[in-house]
């Protein structure tokens, strides 16, 4: 197993008024695994904790965050020190926007720096950068440009280059598709799939379930900071009867092409989480037992689900 996140909890201590502190639990009992050669998509609403998971894996959560549960990489527990050693080397992030690039540094130099960080020897780094640019259809002269001088589509390919130019085995792509026109979306998705097919583990974080289904092997569905289901991509078909959790089914039926059915309620706020199932307020199948305690993760039809009715 390349990555194994088990029972992850993240909370923040924030100042509510004056010196009065409050704790916000933003991730509760989150589980996900990624194998080598596998592409796992994480889908869920904004505010469901998708990006925080990436930050927790990379060890770049803000100082006021507290973390419980475990994250293991290649079977070994990730300590803060080990995360700092591995990020950019073994584990690389494909960031969401161009603003992740240094605006004052030429694009080629940034990718070369990522290559060196990623374990490529200094004298070979430029050659590897050249190859990577060629592979992603970036002309050699693009290396001399600054980030503001390249288009959105080119920027996306530069960001992918920074992550894959080294020797990272696990790639985390944070919302790689929004704002791109359909051809660029296809191109970006193909790049991610190709990386998985080469044996790397890819974790793709997205709100776009249709984009996820085009390339993912498995789909982890997040709601209010927890994994409610981990499904096979093929489970998303027809009326969604193969899906295990009512939220996943609702998400599937909310697509414009599948009924456009809205949820009954909004996602609960981190400071107002219910005692029982986090989806209870919107769930059509809710019973008293659901509201009493959080459902534990179970395996149903070879997928994980947190629902007592599944």
């Amino acid at each position: 197993m390349l990555l194994h996140v088990n029972g992850l909890n993240i909370s923040f201590t924030i100042y509510a008024a004056g010196l009065h502190q409050r704790r916000l639990t933003v991730i509760t009992d989150l589980d996900v695994t990624v194998r080598a050669g596998e592409l796992v998509a994480i889908v869920g609403a904004s505010g469901s904790g998708k990006s925080l998971l990436a930050h927790a894996i990379l060890g770049i959560l803000p100082r006021n965050a507290e973390q419980g549960g475990t994250i293991a990489y290649q079977g070994e527990l990730l300590t803060p020190q080990r995360k700092a050693e591995l990020r950019g080397r073994q584990i690389a992030l494909i960031p969401q926007t161009v603003s992740a690039l240094d605006p004052l540094m030429r694009v080629g130099a940034q990718v070369r720096r990522a290559a060196e960080r990623g374990g490529i020897a200094r004298d070979r780094a430029q050659a590897v950068v050249d190859q990577t640019f060629e592979r992603y259809d970036l002309a050699p002269e693009v290396q001399q440009r600054y980030p503001f001088q390249i288009s959105g589509g080119m920027a996306r390919r530069v960001l992918v280059s920074t992550a894959v130019v080294g020797q990272a085995e696990l790639l985390i792509a944070d919302e790689p598709t929004p704002g791109l026109h359909p051809e660029a979306v296809t191109e970006t998705l193909n790049h991610l799939r190709e990386l998985a097919d080469q044996g790397k583990g890819v974790l793709m974080i997205t709100h776009d379930i249709m984009a996820a289904l085009r390339i993912a092997d498995r789909v982890a569905v997040f709601y209010a900071g927890t994994t409610v289901e981990v499904a096979q991509a093929a489970d998303f078909s027809a009326a969604g009867a193969q899906l295990r959790h009512p939220y996943t089914q609702a998400l599937w039926r909310a697509l414009p092409q599948n009924g456009f059915v809205p949820l009954a309620d909004a996602q609960p706020a981190p400071d107002a989480l219910p005692q029982g199932c986090l989806f209870a307020a919107s769930c059509p199948h809710v019973t008293a037992a659901c509201q009493a305690e959080r459902p534990a993760a179970r395996t149903v039809r070879a997928g994980l689900v947190r629902c007592i009715h599944a």
Partner: protein
């Protein structure tokens, strides 16, 4: 009727035209979809129709008259990124009260939690903030709503919730909608008359 006549636009006299002599009309209660490749001028067209940008040629009229230069504009534009549309230094309650305030029904239809009102924009998620941006345009003075990739950043469940709120309000008040989106299934579901630019 919101009408754009002979609209042409380019950012500079040395740059190519984004569009030329474009005709477009939206009737009260009508839903018009707009799509086309990125960079073809969809957002610029919406900004022209909302009165934020002057076209190089042509004009925009509402019921035969030019858009008002003062007061609340009956043509409201909703952006893709709400964090760029809401003043980061105002609490949510202040942002909602910038124009005539939306009714409690609208806040309920968009699932806006009253706890959010005392927060700062950065303390809400993208989906929560977009609900605020939509709510403040859903007031009776609005006649036309231009939704520029309004839900492109949002998950399907949030997208459906927001659209149901907007569609109900638009039907009740006979509001005309222009929906800019790459998502063809969405335009089909809304029953939009689709115009392709570029």
């Amino acid at each position: 009727m919101l009408e754009g006549r002979d609209l042409s636009f380019r950012h500079h006299t040395r740059l190519p035209w984004l569009f030329q002599d474009l005709q477009l009309h939206i009737a009260p209660g009508e839903i018009v979809g707009l799509n086309g490749p990125s960079g073809c001028g969809k957002t610029t067209l919406a900004r022209i129709l909302a009165g934020y940008v002057r076209p190089v040629t042509g004009r925009v009229t509402l019921e035969g008259r030019l858009l008002p230069r003062q007061g609340y504009c009956p043509v409201q534009l909703i952006y893709q990124h709400p964090e760029l549309a809401i003043n980061p230094r105002w609490r949510i309650a202040a942002a909602l009260a910038e124009g005539p305030p939306p009714t409690a029904n609208i806040l309920a239809a968009l699932h806006i939690n009253s706890d959010w009102l005392n927060r700062w924009p950065h303390e809400l998620s993208g989906g929560e903030l977009q609900r605020i941006a939509v709510a403040r345009a859903l007031i009776s003075q609005t006649r036309y709503l231009l939704a520029d990739e309004m839900t492109a950043m949002l998950d399907a469940a949030t997208q459906a919730q927001i659209w149901h709120g907007v569609l109900r309000f638009a039907a009740e008040h006979q509001i005309g909608l222009l929906v800019i989106s790459h998502d063809l299934p969405l335009l089909t579901r809304l029953g939009a008359r689709v115009i392709t630019l570029g």
